[in-house]
Structure formats: structure tokens, C-alpha cells
């Protein structure tokens, strides 16, 4: 339908769905000429990310740009329009025994463009990297009314500056991604997941550490609290016989009451797990992400738990990626004074975490803080980039780091 979605409590006056990249670029140019502010929208699964926009007049949907532009399975590369849904792309690839080895949060509705713009990544980041590592080319529409491309359809390419990396995670503030070229990989022939139920956080961390120190190369390794129970989870992939051997080894390392899931059961378990990281918060909760160097993960989770407890908040999910250094927490806050609680919570952790990000929270709670936890040292270079690509600040003004 043509009802624009709400972004942090603000409702754009119109939703436009251009039918081509050129039309999208024209729309942007027109918006710039008319002094309108634009929020690009893909699947709408991560609209809660970022500071509340300063203003938004127009929601610009990429959903009509949804085709596969080029796919030659033997080349292991794919070119896809930005509005293509992640789940649809995965289904297409699966038909050829291939995959994007990613498990981003958000439901099946997330689009490729949105995933690039938000740089959201799930637990698989440990073993497979992120979309940043798969991106080999990109086309972007700018408020100047032009579409520019960089990279290409080859897996190794140093022809010109590396713009794909710059756009990745730029939250639509430099342009609207209209298509992307991605490396794809053969799908693993088999997978297994081991879930070790434990009594407390320290047991989960110890179990995960034993796996990390072993010969196993898990694609994901988590210590987590979900639905009131602590566990360590290990995801393994490879050839069927190898996976069976490694799963037995993992069970030995985990040393506790361990459940082993195979194949589609394993994949389904991770989909449910990652759903707890979806960029969305109930009216009484906030979703936070903390990042440290990998070796500091255990200290970080402990400190986060203490701070959450101390603030009177109730943790609904605590998910630590061991070996990555990321901890994601979904916590319920007493609505009374919640904004202040959220601020003090992030302030308490800031000294020990490199980055604290409020991924999602009710708009009223976000007003008093910078959800990105402050501006980087290179803010002036960021501003220069912004003023080159979007001098009138048409795109997502105020939402990204440094309120760019």
C-alpha cells in the first residue's frame, strides 16, 4: 500500500516507489530541488536503527527494484537489485547449491540494499565475515540525479577507489543503493548445531572458550541467555562425515547436557536465535549492541549483566559472539524514567566497551542520546564526504553517526 511507514515517531507525508534506478535518481534530484528530506526504505525491517531523523518528508522505497540482474552460478557471482529480499535471493541461490553465508537479524523481509546500508550482521560473522566481504560492486543513486557504479562482476578488482566498502554501513546518507554485485559461495553439504544448556553465564563462556581453542572452526559460537536459560551454541559446517566427527568432538568439549541438531533443524534453530536480534523494540524494551576486542568479550558480558541488573532493567536476551567481541542485549526497562535509565546504562558500559550502540528503543527514549555513542575522530572527513555526495542533506538527515 502507499501508506508511508513511521520512523521514530515521524511519518513522512508520502511514500514513493520508483520503478527504475533512473527514476529513483530523478526522484532524489526532484526532492533536493524542492528542499525535501528523504528516508530510503527497503524491507522496513530496520527502520528503528539510528538517531531520530531531523525531518522526513518522503519515504523512498526500493521495493520495485527487485530483480536479479545477472547470475551465472559457475562464476559464483550475483548482481541483484537493491529491493530484492534476502530470503528470495537465498532461495534462488539454494536452487544452485549456493548461498550468501550470512545470518543478518531481521526477518525474511530484509532487502539486500537495506542489509548493505545498515551493515547488520549475525553470529555467522565469526566464520564467514559479513556482507562487506562479499560486496564486489555497487550502483548508487545520488541527490545529484545520477547513478554511479563502482567495482564490477569479478571477485578481485582494484580498478579505482573502493566505494562499495564506503557505502556499506553508511545508512543511506551518501546515496540510495540501487543494485549490488555479490560474491556467493557453495553451500556447505552438511551442518550441525550443538546447544549446551548450562547453569550460568560463566559456564557458557568457559564452554565456548574450549571450542574456540580447539581445532574446530565453528561458523558461529555464542554464549547466550534466551528465554531465561543460559547456553553455549556452536554451529559447524562441512562435509557430512566431517561434520559428524566434529559434532562429536564439540559435544566432548562442551561437557554438559548437549543437544545436537542437524541440517534444516540446525538452520531453523539459528533463525529463531537471530530473531531475538531483530531491529525492533517493544514499547517497554531497548536493544543494545556492545563491541570490544574479542579477548575482552567475557569481561564485557559480565559488566553488561551487572549494569543491567544494577539499573533495574530485566534482560530478555543476552547474546555474546565469542571470538567476535559483540554482545547484544534486549532488556525491558521500567517505562518510568526509562530514557534516563537507558542513558546511564550506556554511560556505565562506555568506559569498557569500544562501541555502544542503541540499536532500537521507543522513540521517546532515544531523544536525549546519540544512539551511536558519539562521533568518530574522523568526523570532518565524514562531513566532507557527505557534502560531496549530498550537499543539501537530503538523505536521512541526523540519523547516522555524528548526526551527519
Amino acid at each position: 500500500m502507499n501508506t508511508p511507514p513511521t520512523i521514530d515517531g515521524l511519518t513522512p507525508s508520502a511514500l514513493v516507489t520508483p520503478l527504475s534506478a533512473a527514476e529513483l535518481a530523478d526522484t532524489l534530484a526532484q526532492a533536493a530541488a524542492d528542499g525535501l528530506k528523504v528516508a530510503p526504505i527497503g524491507g522496513g525491517t530496520a527502520l528503528a536503527l539510528g538517531n531520530p531523523p531531523e525531518r522526513v518528508d518522503l519515504a523512498l522505497s526500493t521495493l520495485a527494484l527487485n530483480g536479479v540482474l545477472d547470475y551465472e552460478p559457475s562464476d559464483l557471482v550475483l548482481s541483484v537489485a537493491a529491493g530484492a529480499r534476502f530470503a528470495d535471493v537465498q532461495a534462488l541461490l539454494a536452487g544452485h547449491g549456493q548461498t550468501l553465508p550470512l545470518d543478518p537479524p531481521g526477518d525474511a523481509a530484509a532487502t539486500i540494499g537495506g542489509l548493505i546500508a545498515t551493515a547488520l550482521a549475525g553470529p555467522r560473522r565469526l566464520g564467514s565475515g559479513t556482507l562487506r566481504d562479499l560486496l564486489i560492486g555497487i550502483a548508487v543513486a545520488h541527490p545529484a540525479g545520477i547513478v554511479t557504479k563502482s567495482g564490477g562482476m569479478v571477485v578481485k578488482n582494484v580498478t579505482g577507489f573502493d566505494l562499495p566498502r564506503l557505502y556499506h554501513g553508511s545508512l543511506g546518507t551518501l546515496g540510495v543503493i540501487v543494485s549490488a554485485n555479490l560474491k556467493v559461495l557453495p553451500r556447505a553439504r552438511a551442518e550441525a548445531t550443538l546447544i549446551a544448556r548450562v547453569v550460568a553465564l560463566d559456564d557458557a563462556l568457559a564452554a565456548a572458550d574450549r571450542v574456540r581453542a580447539s581445532r574446530l572452526r565453528p561458523v558461529a559460537l555464542e554464549a547466550a541467555l534466551v528465554d531465561g536459560a543460559w547456553f553455549a551454541a556452536v554451529r559447524l559446517e562441512g562435509r557430512p562425515a566431517t561434520v559428524a566427527t566434529l559434532a562429536a568432538e564439540a559435544a566432548g568439549l562442551l561437557e554438559s547436557d548437549t543437544e545436537t541438531l542437524h541440517g534444516t533443524d540446525s538452520a531453523a534453530w539459528w533463525r529463531r536465535y537471530v530473531a531475538h536480534q531483530a531491529v525492533h523494540a517493544a514499547p517497554d524494551e531497548a536493544l543494545l549492541r556492545f563491541a570490544v576486542r574479542p579477548r575482552a568479550t567475557a569481561d564485557l558480558v559480565r559488566a553488561v549483566l551487572r549494569a543491567v541488573d544494577g539499573s533495574g532493567a530485566i534482560p530478555r536476551a543476552v547474546m555474546a559472539s565469542v571470538g567476535v567481541g559483540t554482545v547484544i542485549v534486549r532488556a525491558a526497562l521500567d517505562p518510568e524514567g526509562a530514557a534516563a535509565t537507558l542513558s546511564s546504562l550506556t554511560a556505565t558500559i562506555s568506559p569498557i566497551a569500544d562501541h555502544v550502540t542503541v540499536i532500537a528503543a521507543p522513540p521517546a527514549w532515544k531523544r536525549g542520546l546519540d544512539v551511536w555513542g558519539g562521533a568518530p575522530q574522523t568526523l570532518d572527513v565524514m562531513r566532507a564526504l557527505k557534502s560531496h555526495f549530498d550537499p543539501e542533506r537530503v538523505l536521512n538527515p541526523g540519523r547516522f553517526a555524528g548526526r551527519i
Binding site: K156, V158, T159, D162, L166, R215, T245, R295, G325, D354
Partner: protein, 488 residues
């Protein structure tokens, strides 16, 4: 020498000490070149070469260059193959070879913090005993620096499985063109803001000088297997490549060498490549022992099915090293065949490899130049080696024409201008083959944002005469064209 010149040298020496500045013509000579073949890229002499040992010194040099309004060209080992380290407009070359300390190896975080002048191979040699290696492995790894790898986003045989340099750089300390020192990225993920680390990797020394790099280390594989398959011709070897990839196997490396290369390599290094083979394929598999064993068997079967006349398997290190030696020394061995060679670097989609190799053979015939092929076949990355003798009149011109022809063909096949070596001055004129004026304007945005005065490594990457204008200016142009007004 002029007084301004003397004054500059004096000021540089005040920053670096007398031993840290080269300025006599004889001392500058080697800095006029990089690793490229003469004639393929220009040479140029800097006013002075500065050899700092600290970040503060680098920053002071850059501020001084600003004061004297001189261009700055960063330089590592000078092994670059696209003219990147040549001071095209003179000025100061900042050579980082004396900043060569490995500052920290952290096996738990799986990272290393290094100065830019650390030699690529020395980093892996330092980390392997502790269980890790630095994955980017350009064939020049005994000489090239990590700073140069970062600037060129270098690749190597093992990029097929492990990715190129940008996939292994977590953070950078950089001296910006205004002399400020900043950090981008870092040990933790999810740094807020634009991915400036990503923009800096592959920026060919045009945006800043890398003074420290925080790089990712990869755990040593539990098992490694190398197979050498001999084929009657290049076609069947490249068919094997497609079959291996299509079977869902991602080898650590998959390298192809043609008969001409074998002729050069085998007599010199006795790696055991059959002299009568039309091509050999070198496949390395690594990872968990069980998988490596099974994949090794699959690869051998696929090679035989596609026509391999022999497959040798090496699992022990000395034998693996011997098989690799032929590949690693391929360039050095070319001297046996020819006084000069031009090493080309282009890349095509994997399935276009046979077509690209056919084209290479046609160009060899058309221009009457022998061309040897050594390629990162699994990535579609070709390295045709055009053999010539520069003493023959017109030889260099013929080589350059042939190379341009190859570039064109690879672009027509859906490829790119360079897979590893960069654009520099070598391919700047060709950039418009793949990018429109608008595309270039977006790249200019990066250049302007870091280096508004365009004093860092000028006259590189962008086509000659290109002004790094604003995207904004293009709007008028785009609208005018749409309306059919070609006023501009």
C-alpha cells in the same frame, strides 16, 4: 641548487637527521622507478626522499610539504607494478621502509599491529609459530611491505579462499594530507561512522600515509595438500578449474601455468612440472584434515575427468614447497627466455577464462610477441607475461599496444582493468573504458574529502587532465542532457 631547495633539505634534516633524507641526484635514482617495466609507466625524480622512523616524523614531513606546497608520494618497497610509488610531480617521497617493527601479535584476538614497512612475508613468519598467518600473499611477498599491500589492496594465490587485503585490515593509523594523525576502525567491530578503513585500503597512497596497520591473522590450517595436475593444453586445464569451482570446492589456491611458463621454470627450479605439458594446474587445499583429504580426492578425479595426464599429490611440507617453488619463481625464471617482459594484470568472470586465454593467444600472434601465462585461475585473474627485447626497435610500443588490446578484450568479456596491481599511471588512461564521468565523480568525492588540495600522490588513477569536480556540478549536466541541451 636553489636556496629554497637547500632550505627544504635543511628543514627535512631537522626532522629526520641527516641520515634520514636523500637528496643528491645519485641517491634519488632508484626512487624514480617502481617495479614496473620501463616504458609502461613514467619515471620521475622527487626533490627529496624522506625516511621517517616514527608517526610524528611522518606528520611533520607532511606539514612541511604543505608549507612548501610540495606534493607527497608515499612509498613502501617500490615493488608496485602500476607506477604508484613514482613521484609523478616531484616533491617529497616518504619512504616507510624504516618503520618496520611488528608492534604486537595477539594470538587471542588474532590480530597483529604493524608499522607499514614490515615485509609481508616477515609478518607471517613471525606469527606462524604462534598458530596464525597473514593471509594476503602477493608473489612479491619477500620484498613488498604491508603498507604497500594496504595501499594497493593486494592479492595473492591464497585470496581465492581467504580474500584480498581489505578483508584482513581492521584498522589504520593514518597521517592525513593536512598532517593530522587519526585512527580508523579498530580492534572491535561496529565502529560508528563511514568505513574509512575500507576507503583507504586500495587508495594507492592518494588519501593518506598509513603509519600503523591493525591486521587480522588467520589460524594455521590443520592440514594442507598440494596437487599438481598436468594437462595437454590450456583449454582442458581451465575446464578443470570450472569443474572444481562448480563442484562446490573452494581451494585455498588454484594456479595455472602454460607451457611457455613451464619451459622457463622447470629447467631452472626442477619443481617437477612435465616439460611436455600444455599447462599445469596447482591446487592447494587446506582446512580440517578430514575435509582436505576428501576434497583432494575430488579434485584429482575432476582433473583426470577433464583430461589431466598426471596428478601429483604432496602432503608433506618439503614436497609442497617444491611444487610451489615453480609458481613462486615463475617471474624470476622468465629471464631464461627473454631479456625483458611486461607483466600484465587483468581479470574476467571465471567462466570467461577460456575465452580470455584464447584472446591472449590471438594477441600474441597478431603482435608477434610470445606471451606466457601464469594465472590465479580460480579468481579469473590473468597475468599474461609479454616477452620482448627492448633493444629491438619499436618493441616497447608493440608491447604496449598488445597490452592495451588485452585490456580491451577483458573489459569486453565483463572484466575489470586490474585484479591486483592497481591503476597508478599505468592504466589511468583506460579508466574510462569501465567508468563513466559520473562514476569518476563519485571516486573524486573520496579524493576531495581526504585531500582537497590534491597534494597526495598526484597524477595517479584518474585520467590525465581529470579535475576532481563536485557531484553537485553534474546535476546541471545530467538535467541538461535529459532535456537535450548539450550546452556544457
Amino acid at each position: 641548487m636553489s636556496r629554497a631547495h637547500d632550505h627544504l633539505i635543511e628543514r627535512l634534516e631537522r626532522i629526520l637527521g641527516p641520515g634520514g633524507v636523500f637528496h643528491r641526484p645519485a641517491d634519488l635514482l632508484v626512487y624514480e622507478y617502481d617495479g614496473s617495466v620501463e616504458g609502461a609507466v613514467d619515471t620521475a625524480a622527487p626533490v627529496a626522499v624522506a625516511l621517517p622512523t616514527t608517526t610524528e616524523q611522518v606528520a611533520a614531513i607532511v606539514r612541511l610539504a604543505n608549507e612548501f606546497d610540495l606534493p607527497v608520494t608515499p612509498r613502501g618497497a617500490g615493488t608496485g607494478l602500476s607506477g604508484g610509488a613514482v613521484a609523478q610531480r616531484g616533491g617529497i617521497v616518504v619512504a616507510l621502509t624504516r618503520m618496520d617493527r611488528i608492534l604486537e601479535i595477539d594470538p587471542e584476538d588474532r590480530t597483529a599491529l604493524v608499522e607499514p614497512g614490515v615485509i609481508n612475508l616477515e609478518l607471517s613468519e613471525a606469527t606462524i609459530p604462534g598458530g596464525h598467518f597473514f593471509a594476503p600473499d602477493p608473489s612479491s611477498q619477500k620484498a613488498c611491505t604491508v603498507g604497500g599491500n594496504v595501499a594497493e589492496n593486494s592479492g595473492g594465490p591464497h585470496c581465492l579462499k581467504y580474500g584480498v587485503t581489505t578483508n584482513h585490515v581492521l584498522g589504520l593509523e593514518v597521517v592525513l594530507p593536512d598532517g593530522r594523525v587519526v585512527w580508523t576502525g579498530g580492534r572491535a567491530g561496529h565502529a560508528p561512522g563511514y568505513d574509512l578503513t575500507g576507503a583507504l585500503v586500495g587508495s594507492e597512497g592518494m588519501l593518506g600515509i598509513v603509519t600503523k596497520a591493525l591486521v587480522r591473522l588467520t589460524p594455521n590450517p590443520e592440514a594442507t595438500l598440494v596437487e599438481l595436475a598436468a594437462f595437454p593444453d590450456v583449454e582442458s586445464a581451465s575446464l578443470a578449474v570450472s569443474r572444481i569451482i562448480a563442484a562446490g570446492i573452494v581451494p585455498a589456491a588454484l594456479e595455472l601455468m602454460d607451457n611457455l611458463t613451464i619451459q622457463a621454470v622447470e629447467p631452472a627450479y626442477h619443481a617437477g612440472y612435465p616439460m611436455d605439458a600444455g599447462a599445469v594446474l596447482l591446487a592447494e587445499l587446506d582446512g580440517i584434515a578430514e575435509d582436505v583429504r576428501a576434497e583432494g580426492e575430488d579434485v584429482a578425479v575432476l582433473c583426470r575427468e577433464t583430461g589431466a595426464t598426471s596428478v601429483r599429490v604432496a602432503s608433506e611440507k618439503p614436497e609442497r614447497d617444491l611444487l610451489w617453488k615453480g609458481r613462486k619463481m615463475a617471474l624470476a625464471a622468465m629471464g631464461r627466455l627473454t631479456p625483458n617482459y611486461y607483466l600484465h594484470d587483468t581479470v574476467v568472470p571465471r567462466t570467461k577464462l577460456p575465452a580470455a586465454l584464447r584472446r591472449v593467444a590471438e594477441v600474441a600472434t597478431e603482435y608477434d610477441l610470445p606471451i606466457a601465462n601464469v594465472l590465479h585461475a580460480g579468481d579469473g585473474n590473468l597475468h599474461p607475461l609479454i616477452l620482448f627485447d627492448r633493444r629491438q626497435p619499436g618493441a616497447v610500443e608493440r608491447v604496449l599496444h598488445a597490452s592495451h588490446e588485452l585490456l580491451h578484450s577483458c573489459v569486453e568479456l565483463g572484466g575489470a582493468l586490474s585484479g591486483e596491481h592497481g591503476i597508478g599511471t599505468e592504466k589511468r588512461a583506460a579508466l574510462t573504458l569501465v567508468f563513466s564521468a559520473d562514476d569518476l565523480a563519485a571516486m573524486a568525492g573520496i579524493k576531495n574529502s581526504f585531500d582537497p588540495k590534491s597534494c597526495f600522490n598526484p597524477e595517479k588513477l584518474f585520467p590525465a587532465g581529470y579535475r576532481c569536480g563536485e557531484v553537485r556540478a553534474l546535476r546541471a549536466q545530467a538535467l541538461a542532457q535529459k532535456l537535450g541541451i548539450y550546452a556544457m
